[in-house]
Symmetry: C2
Subunit: 201 residues, 2 copies
């Protein structure tokens, strides 16, 4: 089992440091109460005008037909590894505000906030997740009857960490690659675009 | 001082439960080391192809000219309360992938993930933040020289909780309004759009 960690320049919460995105999950279900808490965490995220533009379609291996249905909505390459996860989710964004029907330009951003919350709760529960942009939105739409005005956005594989040996060789190598990030000075600016802020120096 | 909390149906982490979005901030600076950790947390978020499409423009009241410059990029209504915060940030999304120049449809979503991380670290540090969609993107672009291919997205007011008495009367009332969210059964589905999932029942 690979226990990857962030390598921060400034100390951050353990729950943020231990998060990474595995492709190998253990053949072990997620306890129902844990799954409820993980989704509850998403519920309490902030959103523009408190629109809560997020929905989640979820399937677990306890319901094999539902699981197969959701797995089939991922692009093929993602199916090869995501099938090891006991829980799969698809996020769906509501594109307009319920209050006035206007376009919600923050819908995708706010789904990110909700999934951020979900991720923190999951990590604290000993779970890992791997998000995917690689889904077939039209297939999600047709399979589940997603109405106009809503866009399927991402998928999430969720579960306990597994043995990379279950993966094809090329994916095993990706599993053990260290986490890398740009330094703060490359994306925190003051005064002028591109000028590293004094607050990160 | 108002100490608002989420009211979850299932227990979630304290750091997720104590987060809310005040408009009244205390006249107290954010310690430099705390601010570094808050930004460091954003750095370690997940993103599509690890693009890290987020940038932050930041200003603190220690640099009054820079602070005034950033405050002026918010819509007027937001300026009336955000000026109580010791730190202001603007998020900027890179719209294409650095690897191949293709459109990054996850840029806004991934900024949400980064700000989600930032929020959790801030809350753990005793800080609060209030995000705003209400900015003047063209003014940000002109003021800071934000290049083509990048879009100013949101602003964030960050600091310690303050006394609502510093706010206009209508905003004071909003400050004490309870947090409300849709129940899980209204946005977690299995099998078909709109059908509450058994995992949340």
């Amino acid at each position: 089992m690979i226990q990857k960690r962030a390598n921060p320049d400034h100390p951050i919460l353990e729950v943020l440091q231990t998060r990474w995105s595995p492709r190998a999950f253990a053949d072990r279900p997620v306890e129902p109460d844990k799954l409820k808490r993980v989704l509850e965490a998403a519920r309490w995220a902030a959103s523009s005008f408190n629109e809560q533009p997020w929905s989640f379609i979820v399937a677990t291996k306890e319901q094999p037909d539902e699981y197969a249905k959701l797995l089939a909505c991922l692009i093929e390459w993602n199916q090869t590894w995501a099938k090891t996860a006991p829980v799969l989710l698809v996020t769906v964004a509501k594109l307009t505000f319920s209050r006035n029907g206007n376009k919600n330009g923050m819908a995708k951003h706010d789904i990110g906030l909700a999934v951020g919350n979900l991720t923190v709760q999951a990590t604290a529960e000993g779970l890992y997740l791997h998000q995917m942009a690689g889904i077939e939105p039209d297939k999600v739409r047709a399979t589940y009857g997603v109405p106009e005005g809503y866009d399927p956005l991402t998928a999430i594989a969720l579960g306990y960490l597994g043995d990379p040996a279950v993966l094809p060789a090329d994916m095993q190598a990706m599993e053990s690659a260290p986490m890398v990030r740009k330094p703060l000075s490359q994306f925190v600016f003051t005064g002028r675009w591109g000028e590293a802020s004094p607050v990160v120096q």
